[in-house]
């Protein structure tokens, strides 16, 4: 277990296990992971395929329930939180970025990016202002009315990042966000996320096996067979 008590915690897990029932042998995707992540950190979870990275992100995001152990997000335990409360917590405090962009194809870039604000009941004018500001910062201005099918992979992923951060969540979980991007688009995306992390103190947790992401992370957690094999602090800016 790695404990870093330098600041308020964005995430805490205690002996978390996740087993998927499967004949003839159940699959143990995560085995007793205990972890603390500070608010404002920029963390990469690395490891080979099947090491439990995506399952770990799903557990932290409340998309799946642990078989055993406990999970806290910003001080609230989500282990047995009822589904509607969990949905509310995801809406208000967690942003997701997925590997395959996962934009809603029937909504324009702007509508996709503002979606979580819409669900929160933010007025239309404010939603549009926030998204346009973000798009401008991300070099996406002028693309607001395009539908996902008319955007490149890098542009789609930036829309997905905009959607994840526009509501200023405390935690952004990104599942291999650069997996489908070329090096230029990857670098641009990481620049955007680093800047958001720096300016808004948003906590980012990535799953990745992309060396470019690992290089930028300030903490690198390596998972092997569902267990933390290594937890390294790096790129830390001296206080």
């Amino acid at each position: 277990m790695s404990t870093l008590n330098a600041g308020p915690l964005a995430v805490r897990t205690e002996e978390v296990c996740k087993t998927y029932p499967q004949d003839p042998n159940p699959v143990q995707a995560v085995r007793g992971v205990s972890l603390e992540i500070e608010s404002g950190d920029f963390v990469a979870m690395a490891g080979p395929s099947g090491s439990g990275k995506t399952t770990m992100l799903n557990l932290l995001g409340g998309l799946t329930r642990p078989t055993s152990g406990r999970i806290w997000i910003g001080g609230d335990e989500i282990t047995d939180m009822p589904d509607p409360a969990l949905a509310r917590l995801r809406l208000e405090r967690i942003g997701f970025v997925f590997q395959a962009y996962n934009l809603l194809p029937v909504l324009s870039a702007l509508e996709n990016a503002e979606f979580t604000l819409l669900l929160r009941g933010v007025p239309s004018a404010e939603r549009h202002r926030k998204v346009r500001e973000l798009f401008e910062q991300m070099g996406m201005d002028g693309l607001e009315d395009r539908f996902p099918g008319k955007l490149s992979g890098g542009q789609q992923q930036r829309v997905a990042v905009a959607r994840a951060v526009v509501g200023e969540p405390a935690l952004v979980l990104a599942d291999e966000p650069t997996a489908n991007l070329d090096s230029v688009a990857s670098a641009a995306l990481l620049d955007v996320m680093e800047r958001l992390n720096r300016e808004h103190r948003t906590t980012f947790v990535f799953s990745t096996h992309d060396p470019r992401v690992m290089e930028r992370a300030r903490r690198l957690i390596t998972l092997v067979d569902g267990e933390i094999s290594e937890d390294v602090l790096r790129n830390r800016v001296p206080a």
Partner: protein, 416 residues
Amino acid sequence: MLKLAARSVGRNARRSALTAAAMVIGLALLIFSRSLAEGAHEQWITSAIRIGSGHVAIQAPEYLESGKLEHRIGAVGHERALRAVESVSGDQVLAHTPRLSVDGLASSAASALPIRIEGVDPEQERAFSDLDEKVEDGRYLEPGDRLHAYVGVELARRLGLKVGTRFVLTAQSAAGDVEGQLVRVAGIFRTSIPEMDQGLIHIPIETAREWLGTPDAVTTVAVLLATSRDTDRVVSELRDALAGASDLRVLGWRQAAPELDSALRMDDYGDYVFHSILFAIVALAILNAVMMSVLGRRREFGLLQALGLTGAQTGWVVFGEGLFLTAVSGVVGMVLGFLFTWGFFRNGLDFSGLVESEGAWASAGGMVDPVIVPTFHSSQVLLSLYFILIIGTLASIYPALRASKLDVAEAMKFDR
């Protein structure tokens, strides 16, 4: 959420179009077949009640059950019935006619056959019934006729009668005696309804009254309305108007002609079965389309929940799509069904090629012209639309439940 549902319908244009087409064709067929069935029924009713006792019949209370002359309406009752009929509001009453009916025997040198003898007022009967238009030979009765008879073609054949031939009618008079009356054939009719063609004779009502010893009497005052849908209202009005007359009973055609009512109900039952099959096909089409939509978009619904929608809200999105598709298709189907039926068949759909010989179908005392004119009832059209909406709603429930109970993490892995 509504926008999302509507756009999802629009985005999957081919799938939505196929689903919509199933509903549109289903509803259009439904409206077409209902309007034809309504048109045929109306013709059938009109035909049967014109020859029979009208949309509304005023009789003595026991006459329907007994059919006997002793249960007749006297002069006072007849006059009261006529005043009541003339007081009916609106212009629903097209005609009315007095009838003096009795069961009897028709005898000639060739044979003797049981028959129904109707004493009629030739002039009023012409306005009421279309039997005068069914002349095969000779003519219909005319005012001033005395000992004339208008007989069915099959009866004439079996008794060996021709126009001008004399034969004898025998029946029990009001006094209880069996009385005979010699009449001469004025005309022979063909209705294609076997029971009419071999068992009905019209004679002048004055001749019948004199012969049977029932001066000024009638057994039925038959009332013809513009449409059978007015029957209940007119029956109610007449019952109110005749509330104090214990010697009179007002009957709607369903009561007065129960065999016709049964035949129509059986026909309706067949329609219901056909329409149920049609509805089931439409329901399966919707269910299939919405299910395919859910199964093919698990990841999208997983994403919605990952972003903060609850399972119930996701279910509502799917349900909304089903409803949206159903509502749009329902309205389009209704309009198309109406336009198709009205545009191509407003003058009637000709089934004469299916009729073997006489140019009409006969059943339960009525005839249906082979050219059926569709009849639209707004209530029927709205009922069809209502049912389609119900089916669309029900067919959307299961896919919505599936979407609401999605395993988000599994859904996000789907098709990766």
